[in-house]
Amino acid sequence: MGMARLVLWRVLAVVPIMLVVSFVTFVLLSTNPVDPAEQLLGPTASEEQLEAKRHELGLDEPVLVRYADWLGGAVTGDLGQSIYTTTPVATSIGDRAGVTLSLTVGGLIVALVIGFPAGVSSAMRAGRPADRLTMVAATAGQAVPAFWLGTLLLLVFAVRWSIFNAVFYVPPSDSVTGWLKSIVLPCIALGASGAAWIARQTRSELVTVLQQDYIRTALAKGASRHQVLFGHALRNAGGPLLTVVALLVSAVLSASFVIEAVFALPGLGSLALESINRNDPAPVLGFVVCVVFVVVIVNVLLDLIQGWLNPKVRAL
């Protein structure tokens, strides 16, 4: 399969995935026994009033019709609106995406900047004390729940020492330093276990590659450690590591929803939680669809890079 066909194929495959995910979520949410009309009008409302409200909200239509309506809007960027606040879902998501993006990118940076070099240096010293020590730390680090680490960081740095903001978010448009102060702790909490995981995966992929015959060939040709590592090993470990990174993106993104709760940051996770607590289906649907879309697109992109790295795929 050539590169162009690969791109086309992968991008097209996103459509059915999004259709299925949105449809299943839509149907799932419609099974919620709580009646929005009753929630809006209160327990004193008459049956006629409830009927009228349901009609107004379009709830008397069959699920398939409602889904088709929603889908028609969604392709134009209209993800419906909140039953209670009537805010368009797209607007709420747009307002909160900045926090989620800051946290996710920050968490990824922490994970990769610490995890990758640690894994590489561990692989180069495989079996030595330095390697063992790194791996023990990584094993432990991987088991630390992000929301606990966040809580402890908050306790020490914000509550005790007041070095960082405790619990409010400053958008970068207001103050860049304020923004940094508000997301540094959450990003460390988010990235720590990711870093541990990346370190372990990087080491294990590299050790596998370094046992290959072609590495011995390179050494027999007189390659230095650096030439072997950067010239031969990383390129081949790159493919599997990209798969790991795709999983990391998904993991950090979802962990960010929990971290938001720790630091009381107004991101997509809090939108979902608030909406769940209010029995407000539209923002939840919008949340699920957007998050899944991002995850799927990241997977597709990394898949394509992986294909491009592989000469067998690229050449044809």
């Binding site: 995935i17 299925v20 995910v21 799932l28 949410l29 919620n32 709580v34 180069m124 010293r125 495989a126 079996g127 094993t139 088991a143 729940p145 929301f147 606990w148 809580t151 306790l155 509550v159 050790v207 370094l210 015959d213 072609y214 590495i215 011995r216 060939t217 050494l219 027999a220 040709k221 007189g222 230095s224 450690r225 030439q227 072997v228 590592l229 010239g231 031969h232 390129r235 998904s250 979802s254 962990a255 929803f257 929990v258 709760a261 979902a272 909406s275 769940i276 607590n277 289906p281 939840v284 949340f287 699920v288 998050v291 899944v292 995850v295 997977n299 790295l309 592989n310 000469p311 050449a315």
Partner: protein, 557 residues
Amino acid sequence: MTAPFASPGWTRRVLHDRPARVAAAFLVVLGLVALFAPVLATHDPQSGQLDDALQEPSAEHWLGTDHLGRDEFSRLVYGARISLLAGVEVLGIALLIGIPVGLMAGYRRGWFDRIGMRVVEVVVSLPALVVAIAVVAATGPGLGPSMLAIGFVAATIMARLTRAVVLAAREEDYVDGARVSGARDRRIIVRHLLPNVASALVVQATLLFAAAVLAEAALSFLGLGAVPPQPSWGVMLNEARAQFEEAPLLAVWPGLCIFLTVLAFNQLGDRTADVFGRGGVAALDARPIDPAVPAADPAPVSGSPPALDLRRVSVTYGASEVVSDVSVSVAGGEIVGLVGESGAGKSTTALAALGLVPAPGRTRAGSIRVAGVELVGMAPGELRHVRGRRIGYVAQEPAAALNPAYTVGHQFAEPLRWHLGRSRRQARAEAGEWLERVGIAPERVGGYPHEFSGGELQRIALAMALACGPAVLVADEPTTALDAVVQAQVLDLVLDLRDESGTAILLISHDLGVVAGVADRVAVMRAGRIVEIQETVALFDRPQDPYTQQLLAVAGA
């Protein structure tokens, strides 16, 4: 990968590992704590006196009390119950759905596999937390529905793994055997496939349990899983946040419980995987060649020194010595065959000559001289100026010996650039000339290894090893992986190149025919030692050592 899993007693081997034992012991204790929570708990976990709120640890309340005056220790004890039950629920769903689906998909293939795996691929890529949020949004918060959602995602992970393991296992002989002898599918699956894939699944199940514990805590922390007043560790951590100033320790205990539990499950899973995984360490852990004790006898001076001179070379792995006191020399233009059964230490001897014995192996030698240069005691960083420059190496498997990610030209150019200081362009042009010399169109210099046949690759590997004009070529079974016609071509090429360049060649082979055809002298190795070394004709005519005689008799020579 599947074979070691099939061997009996693997649980014992896992428990032989100390970290695994510690982790398993912790989990057993945790299980007992959860089981006997009503006995162990000193107080009611769900109710307390507001008067007792936020007490310091004391004899009455070992870990103090929370904001509602409830005993922290008792709540942690009951928290183990919730945590482990969540894990059991997730794992139960994963096993009950995932394994049958994976087994069927992997064994039957066909439409079930195609459709099933398409669904699995999609679900696996979804963040479990988002799936849980969607489910809880429909059902309302609770441990049941949220763990159902996590279990669903876990089931797809399990299905995918089971399928992969089954696909590998069904190629094995025992499955064919069972099929030929007329066993029915279900019997083959239950009796033959399942036991063989079981331990791989145990590893995954252990790691899934850890993930489930973590997911329960996170969801309960968010208020989507267990809800107050349930003593879930996640709920407790969330509630502790309001008492940061007064009772910071309340935020420590539940997190510590989650951490230790997840760590124990992860550790057990990893260690179990390690028991079956191949050990081995990376090739980059270079060590110098140590001098032999006692020191070598001085080299006899007789005319020009040999191109390659190994004296009293030994290689040890821990307590076992795989090469013992091997001495052999190869003069310029000479071909010396090194023969013996597999496991005799031939390849290790070859690698020792380059200082490339993989860790944790240790090489000791009286002397290893390449073109007069002593390698013993040389720093690993210096050795590389000898490798590729003065001594070339060709391995058995040509397809594996070249890096699949780079063009042949790039790999060919490397030693020319490193040792001879050629520019990229110059080196590439030379690579093209070399290809032509070994009968490959020079335009193909930009091709990737997968675009060449095995015979072509081996000719390229040979040329690459000789590119910098080394005095010595070490060829480890260079023709074994090739079919007969190609084998003859490659051997002819070896002879031609030797005649042109006068390179000394140490030719390792288990094939006496190959060695008889090209070698000037032959050394016979057995169990790490050279038992006999003679001119080729003499060795084949009048073998002295009984082992050589036996070897020749078996070969029918």
